[in-house]
Amino acid sequence: MGNVVFIGVAVLVVVSAFFVVTARNLVYSAVALMGTLFGVAGLYVFLYADFMAAVQIVIYVGGILVLIIFGVMLTNKIATPVLIQTSMPNRALAAVVVFLIFLGLTTLLFRTPWHEGATVAPEGTVATIGQALLTKYLIHFEVAGVLLLLALLGAAYLSRRENG
């Protein structure tokens, strides 16, 4: 049963990711991306990372995807031009690069010594994450916080009227 659901989620991720890159309309790509992001959240659930799954949804679907669609919407008439690369030499080059990346990823996939993860749901993922963030990874956590604050201030500064 779990397998059936897992295959369903995996197919959702792959198929919608395929639509993201092949759709000729940016908004359609964004909608397909929603399927991918939900599928990845589903994969987190299979890894017993329930908190990560919810974070995935609230940040990527509720935040970043909304921002992408927002940006596309405000850009006038972006739906009309064909967004697919049409120049032949570029396409050939892209094919080579993509093939090399695919080769690298598949060899990585088969060479990595995978070890079996936990098969029993851990007790309370949230408390563990919180404790790790405030003890072992405190500096990383603080640095990430400062970085995000800087990004926020920078965006506010750039969008002020006198700076165009």
Partner: protein, 374 residues
Amino acid sequence: MSSFIDTIVDFLVRLLGIPQGAAGFMLILVAVVLGVVVFLFTAVNALVAVYMERKVSAFMQDRLGPMEVGFWGFRGGKRFWGGIAQTLADTFKLLLKEDIIPDKSDRKLFILGPFILYGAVFCAFIGIPLGYGMAISDFNIGIFYVIAISSVGVIGIILSGWGSNNKWSLYGAVRSAAQIISYELPVGMSLLLVVMVVGSLQFHDIVAWQEQHRWFLFHSPFTIVAFVIFFLSGVAEANRTPFDIPEAESELVAGYMTEYSGFRWAIFFLSEYANMAVISLMTAIVFLGGWLSPVGGLLRLFGVPEGWYYLDGSLWGVFWISAKAILFIFIMMWFRWTWPRLRVDQLMYTAWKVFLPIALLNIFFVGIWELIFA
């Protein structure tokens, strides 16, 4: 604490003597049935709430509201029972109405939009318990799950606004996106305070804490502030007046739903009232003790020993949580018919310069409060 769905599956498996291998399919079956139940719940909720809204608004404006489609024979006569079947008639009208999809609209997105909006609210219902052990699925991260999944609904609004290919719809969608993203922060921050005190994201733990101590509304001055911020931001997330600028009738015709008619428009309505129910239930659970009986709490204060007159227990729990939620739905309607709409800039000002700083300070102070008094 096993969830509702596991209990039902276990019961059915034992009752019908199903082999262990088929239990998974039983789970799917039960999930589908419960999904239909949630759908019916939202539909009935919308039916009742629309009628309630019309009557509440009418009495607030010294009118009578709907009073022709219904039964007149009961006590109170035409004035109270006259319009009782009005929303039922409206539903039939909406279902039979011609489904218009504008020629120049983006057909796929136009159709998809309302369903994403409704899907988000529907998924939120799955995590909300309606009594002790009465959540369809009792997540460890319950409160965070509900916030996360309801943040998806805005995508439906944006897609339907953009897909309509109408400037009013687009303006409505843009405003809605900005509004919902802004008000998500105060909602999260004010809930964080409760989570800090309880130390768990699970709805059952939050209510259990309130059973042992006291309701969060009366816990400390900071939780009262958090309650006010949470409820007002919730009203904003549900796009209700005074925060209904995404569908401001006087400026934008009907915002993102301008081009919709018939059944698709009904889905927007269903989502709006379901959203109100989600926010009211969340407020009731987090700040007013959910399914705990107020009678029991009062009697305990005066030292009366426990007994039947406490009016608690599973069915009474459903009654109390519904009563509290209906109270909040009524307050939302009260807001709508007494307050004027905010301007766009005032809306952003309220979210970013009033609610968010207060909510952040609140978290800081509640930490100190808990250190001293807990």
